[in-house]
């Protein structure tokens, strides 16, 4: 199926990130075939699809962990297909992982301070020598970490090693660490995986709140409840986009139901 056949399309007025005709193969296996996707500035954009649809590959290309074979990723109007993960992060594009990748041997507070790394301006030497500028910056980072811990309900475990936390709190910490430096685009890979119903509700509230404050969110998830907070949902099937639009409309699309929901 070509994208032109897709019954649902949206054309956001202001795209923060665009995936343009991206293809990716591993050996002889074509995982993505000329996929297009647009993430509107200030939106929550979702990506769903059955297992093997190419979601993770696309997510890794957007976040810089994989390079596309063809096509490009445009961020702020500039191609970033070959730009490193670190440079994307410094440009405001931050991701989380399907399995929470917190710094297990650092405390929650230290994880959050590490999340402020790119906000530092004092330089390595000033930091190593503990110069006043570096000390002031550290104090600011610690204040920011304390506020973020409180906001994400992590205050009671602020001095606990992150690796000792249950999965739900690790996910929350990873989200908090990603959000602490105010990224422009927050990319979340299966953020509700392993969470119970209450934790999913809390996550959905946090995402909506971050989005209302101006953060754009790109969400890859199997969780239909969580996907409900996305303004636009893209459906990927066998490496091609088969639908894109409001979640309710996408769910009603017969091809989506056939390919993804099994109805």
């Amino acid at each position: 199926m070509t994208r032109a056949d897709a019954p649902l399309t949206t054309t956001p007025s202001s795209a923060l990130l665009e995936v343009r005709a991206v293809s990716k193969s591993f050996g002889g296996l074509h995982v993505l075939r000329a996929v297009d996707l647009t993430i509107a500035r200030g939106s929550i954009t979702g990506l769903i699809g059955p297992n093997g649809a190419g979601k993770s590959t696309l997510f890794n290309i957007v976040s810089g962990f994989l390079a596309p074979d063809r096509g490009d990723v445009i961020y702020h109007g500039r191609p970033i297909g070959r730009i490193s993960v670190v440079d994307r992060s410094r440009a405001g594009l931050v991701r989380t992982f399907q399995t929470p990748q917190v710094f297990g041997h650092l405390t929650v507070r230290e994880n959050l301070v590490a999340g402020c790394h790119k906000l530092g301006r004092s330089g390595m030497l000033a930091d190593m020598l503990g110069l006043p500028l570096a000390r002031r910056e550290l104090a600011q980072m610690q204040r920011r970490a304390a506020l973020t811990a409180a906001r994400f309900s992590l205050e009671p475990v602020a001095d606990v090693l992150a690796g000792k936390l249950p999965v739900g709190q690790q996910r929350l910490l990873e989200l908090a660490r990603a959000a602490i430096a105010d990224p422009e685009l927050l990319c979340l890979d299966e953020p509700s995986s392993g969470l119970n119903g209450d934790e999913v509700d809390q996550l959905a509230r946090m995402l909506t709140q971050l989005n209302e404050e101006g953060m754009t969110v790109f969400l890859v998830s199997h969780d239909m409840e969580l996907m409900g907070c996305a303004a636009t949902v893209n459906v990927l099937c066998f490496g091609e986009t088969i639908a894109s639009g409001p979640f309710a409309a996408v769910k009603a699309d017969p091809r989506v139901r056939e390919a993804y929901l099994g109805a």
């Binding site: 410094r90 710094f103 570096a134």
Partner: protein, 295 residues
């Protein structure tokens, strides 16, 4: 055996222990920040000792400046090793074993280069306080050895504060624990690794310039120091700075007591046998499993 002899041996063991601890500290710093077991740590010390010796002999610089030059030389060698040996090996998917072998090869290369350019003879170097000694209960300890102990303590405390209290120290640990997660929050992981090797090289340099006035500089001293330092780091719990110093002190003191109570010929046998027993009883080192991890 007299009390004076016992105290004399204790002081010698303490001094040697801090030297081993400093080498082990460098190994721990590098392991903690990069997960690389570095067999070149003693060679960082060798290069620093040679650089300081040349700065003092040829350029006639003051001791403190010459020592500083040696430490900078150690840091630069650390930087070069990361850039020229470690990074290319990792880029080609080299395992931890490969990296250990690469640094072992590098250690032999540095030793051979020192033999070629510095010669076969040992060279002595002046230390702090010249040859003056202090009396401790009728035993003597060189003023330089007191400096060595004091500086080693300052270095280990400074490193502890660096890792615990500075964002850079925590970013280094974060990059080591989870490179992918660190990259996504904007931490430049390769830069953190280079910085770690420079830091490890500088710590090796501190050990080199401080030990050289006590044992003379010799082209083979690098590998010998690495072996002792490696033992100290492993016994203390690889990756834990305090553990490395504790392991070094234990090794130095056991060696000294072996000399006093048995014979100098058996010091290595006795020290290593005891350490083997400790490792069997506590396989993660004196400070336990937390010593092996980043935090």
């Amino acid at each position: 055996m007299t009390t004076t002899l016992f105290i004399q041996s204790l002081l010698a063991g303490l001094t040697n222990g801090f030297v081993y601890g400093l080498i082990g500290l460098g190994i721990s710093v590098i392991f903690r920040g990069t997960r690389v077991v570095n067999a070149m740590q003693g060679d960082f010390a060798l290069v620093a000792g040679i650089a300081a010796c040349l700065a003092l002999d040829w350029l006639g610089l003051p001791i403190a400046v010459g020592f500083l030059g040696g430490i900078i030389a150690g840091a630069l060698v650390g930087w070069a090793v990361e850039l020229l040996l470690i990074r290319p090996t990792q880029a080609r998917g080299g395992s931890e074993d490969s990296l250990l072998l690469v640094t072992l090869g590098g250690a032999f290369a540095v030793s051979a280069a020192a033999l070629l350019y510095f010669g076969r003879d040992s060279r002595s170097m002046p230390g702090f306080g010249g040859n003056r000694s202090l009396d401790v209960f009728d035993a003597a300890i060189r003023v330089h050895a007191v400096w060595l102990i004091a500086i080693a303590i300052v270095v280990v405390v400074a490193l502890r504060l660096f890792y615990q209290r500075t964002p850079l120290g925590q970013s280094i640990l974060a990059a080591s624990i989870d490179p992918e997660g660190a990259a996504t929050i904007g931490i430049n992981v390769p830069r953190m690794r280079t910085l770690t090797f420079m830091l490890g090289g500088a710590v090796g340099g501190v050990a080199g310039v401080l030990v050289s006035p006590l044992i003379t500089i010799h082209y083979e001293m690098g590998l010998l120091l690495t072996l002792k330092g490696f033992t100290a780091a492993i016994v203390g719990g690889l990756g834990n700075p305090f553990g490395a110093i504790m392991g070094g002190l234990l090794l130095g003191l056991v060696e000294a007591m072996a000399i006093v109570f048995v014979s100098s010929g058996y010091k290595d046998v006795i020290a290593m046998s005891l350490l083997i027993l400790i490792m069997i009883a506590m396989p993660n080192g004196l400070l336990g499993r937390r010593g092996r991890v980043g935090g």
